[in-house]
């Protein structure tokens, strides 16, 4: 089976994988699911972009087209960076909890820690709305994608138009409903992937330099998100921006 070519046998598989990965990125907060979904999305888009690229002047890296290689690799590296960031934050949070437990055991707990625990419990509580809102946003984005694909087609290829609009609209939906820095970053990466697809769709001829810089931008964006997330978490012990602002307002009042 040739993985770089779409055919009747694997068409549904790739489209399903794309949709599923987008839903996972939009809805879930868990890093163990979110970052692999991002990698899967990049790999699927690499295959779709490769199949839709009808350019005659193809740059190859051995048997693999350069565009596929760079897109796949940038996705893997970006996913890895975000995964390690999520892992580092989890690790730091675990250390913080251990310190807290030790302080509690040695009688250094006090009222302040009690309130902190209350607040953490409130934040970490399972709420349906946290999942329903992103899911609703994805459903609206998919609806908008279908409408845009049928009303404003531009490339002459349904799959290409659909994938581009899907990535753009779901990326924006993730940014709109996302509450933490890493989630916003994932939304940006999804939108960026859409622009790369458009480049493959409408451009005549691959430019290795553009493809390379584009892959670099993806990786640097992931690094920047990781930097901001770690910087913020190290000080505020949360990734939710609104939570940090709320806490400061409470302190001021």
């Amino acid at each position: 089976m040739n993985f770089f070519t779409l055919d009747a046998g694997n068409y549904g598989f790739f489209l399903g994988a794309l949709l599923l990965s987008l839903v996972v990125i939009a809805v879930y907060k868990d890093w163990l699911l979110l970052t692999p979904a991002l990698v899967v999305q990049y790999l699927v888009m690499a295959v779709i972009a490769n199949d839709l690229n009808n350019t005659a002047a193809r740059v190859m890296l051995g048997p693999t087209p350069l565009a596929v290689f760079l897109k796949g690799m940038s996705g893997v590296v970006a996913g890895l960076i975000l995964f390690l960031t999520g892992y580092a934050i989890l690790f730091a949070a675990r250390g913080f909890r251990r310190e807290e437990a030790e302080a509690e055991a040695s009688g250094l707990g006090g009222l302040r820690r009690f309130f902190y625990r209350e607040e953490a419990a409130r934040l970490n509580r399972f709420r349906y709305v946290d999942y329903l809102l992103p899911l609703g946003a994805v459903v609206i984005a998919v609806g908008a994608t279908y409408a845009l694909t049928t009303l404003l087609p531009f490339s002459g290829n349904f799959l290409g138009d659909f994938s581009f609009y899907l990535l753009g609209s779901v990326g924006i939906a993730i940014m709109v409903v996302g509450r933490d820095i890493l989630k916003l970053g994932a939304g940006l990466l999804v939108s960026l992937n859409g622009a790369d697809l458009l480049y493959s769709l409408l451009r005549n001829g691959d430019s290795p330099l553009v493809l390379g810089i584009s892959a670099t931008i993806t990786i640097l964006l992931a690094l920047l998100i990781s930097y901001l997330a770690i910087l913020y978490h190290s000080k505020m012990k949360t990734l939710l921006i609104s939570e940090g602002v709320r806490r400061q307002r409470k302190q001021v009042s």
Binding site: M175, L188, S191, A195, L198, Y199, I217, L220, L228, K235
Partner: protein, 463 residues
């Protein structure tokens, strides 16, 4: 030669990072000093290299337009001053500002040097990424400011990625249009996407949501990197882009007119918003947004005076923003980091910063004998060529800026002194720098002809 021009700033960035990693600037004074010397020396070398006749490659892959050369040299000169001010006001302690500044300058050189227009877009996005490192370089002990700085940076990050995306998509459609001129409907798509993209980059109303928080919360000189360096370089790119593709705007008045209306409306709304702000940084952000809107108006205008005025205004904006942020940094340094919004009556304590800030504010409004006058005059002249309503709208925007500036200046510098406030004296080097900048503002206001002549000649070269 081309490799040296492109690689030197990045190699120096790496070197400064390693050097400051070994000799931490918060521990070693010489490291802090060298943190200014290395980047300033690099920028001076780059200015020399940019003007070398062999800089442009024969195959056309790497070309500096005269406009790019003039602006890059000017902007790098201002960046050098910004680095010195950062050194004086103790902003180089963390060791992040110098490398971030050098990396931004490197990406801007690449953006205005490489002919591949797709790469240019990507380099502007990269410059935005590097500027975020400087924006979040705030004191983490002040939690409230830290949270706001991160929030502002995330907003800015979203804006620059969306700017890159829209411009990238516009360029893809432009190339499609070049291959098949029959697809004339794509012209509107390309113009709409490029205008939205640049409005996001330049923070033109209503795409300016990210700017107020960035200027309010970021350290002064980091804000200069965003509005005075990257945004002005983006104006140069936009001017070049529209001059090289006249079918988009200049030969197409039907498309240019909505862009001009959007820009002027944006300037008026920005002026109105500036009046209602509760922080000086936010007020400056809205007036800067309005000024960029006027620049966009000039660039989209079909009259030569408009384009010349827009470019001169870009020069003025960079110079005045450096002056304003220098004065604000000095105020922040002398008042030991207390937010300027909580202070009054600083004019007696910091007279030079007060004079500098007043000159900067009045220059931004375009008062005669100051550097802002010639640019604003040409822009209003261009608006007058369109009709009375246009020039009245431009005048209204400037009037609103003036009220906003004077209101804040009066509150912070002319009010009653804060009892018990302990301030440091203004550093002599900072006083000297402010006076030098004020001198240039006056010089450019009294004698703008040479700069206008250079810009006009450079524009003719592009066209």
């Amino acid at each position: 030669m081309q490799f040296v021009i492109l690689a030197l700033p990045f190699l120096m960035t790496f070197f400064v990072l390693v050097f400051e990693g070994i000799f931490r600037p918060d521990r070693f004074v010489f490291s802090r000093t060298l943190g200014v010397v290395w980047p300033v020396a690099t920028l001076l070398v780059e200015i020399v290299l940019i003007w070398q006749p062999t800089a442009n490659s024969p195959d056309g892959a790497f070309v500096f337009s005269t406009l790019s050369r003039i602006f890059l040299s000017f902007l790098f000169g201002l960046t050098g001053v910004a680095l010195v001010v950062s050194y004086i006001t103790g902003f180089l302690l963390s060791g992040r500002f110098s490398p971030a500044t050098l990396a931004i300058c490197g990406t801007l050189i690449a953006a205005l040097y490489i002919s591949n227009i797709f790469l240019v877009t990507l380099f502007f996005v990269l410059a935005g990424f590097f500027s975020i490192v400087a924006l979040v370089d705030v004191d983490t002990e002040n939690e409230e400011r830290f949270v706001r700085a991160i929030k502002a940076s995330v907003r800015y990050l979203i804006a620059i990625v969306l700017f890159g995306l829209t411009l990238f998509i516009a360029l893809i459609f432009l190339e499609r249009l070049r291959l098949d001129p029959q697809l004339s409907g794509f012209i509107q798509v390309v113009v709409a996407l490029s205008v939205v993209g640049f409005s996001m980059r330049l923070a033109i109303f209503p795409f300016n949501l990210w700017l107020p928080d960035v200027i309010e919360e970021a350290p002064g000189m980091a804000a200069f990197l965003v509005v005075g360096l990257i945004n002005v370089a983006a104006v140069v790119f936009l001017a070049d882009f529209w001059q090289e593709n006249p079918t988009l705007i200049y030969d197409n008045y039907r498309i240019a007119q909505p862009v001009m209306i959007m820009a002027l409306t944006g300037a008026v709304f920005a002026g109105l918003m500036a009046l209602g702000q509760n922080g000086i940084g936010k007020m400056i952000a809205y007036t800067v947004s309005g000024d960029f809107a006027l620049i966009l108006f000039g660039l989209a205008s079909p009259h030569r005076t408009g384009v010349n005025g827009a470019l001169f205004e870009a020069v003025n904006l960079a110079l005045l923003q450096l002056l304003i942020f220098t004065c604000l940094s000095v105020v922040s340094y002398c008042s030991n980091g207390i937010s300027i919004n909580n202070l009054t009556g600083l004019g007696r304590r910091m007279p030079v910063a007060a004079i500098g800030l007043l000159v900067g504010f009045l220059g931004m409004v375009g008062l005669p004998f100051l550097s802002g006058f010639a640019g604003k005059y040409l822009l209003l002249q261009s608006a007058a060529q369109e009709g009375l309503v246009w020039v009245l709208a431009g005048g209204l925007a400037l009037g609103l800026f003036l009220i906003a500036y004077l209101r804040y200046f009066h509150r912070v510098f002319m009010g009653n002194d804060v009892p018990g406030l302990k301030t440091l004296p203004e550093p002599p080097t900072a006083i000297l720098l402010i006076l030098v900048l004020v001198f240039f503002v006056l010089l450019l206001g009294l004698w703008p002809a040479p700069v206008l002549g250079w810009l006009d000649a450079a524009l003719r070269g592009v066209a």
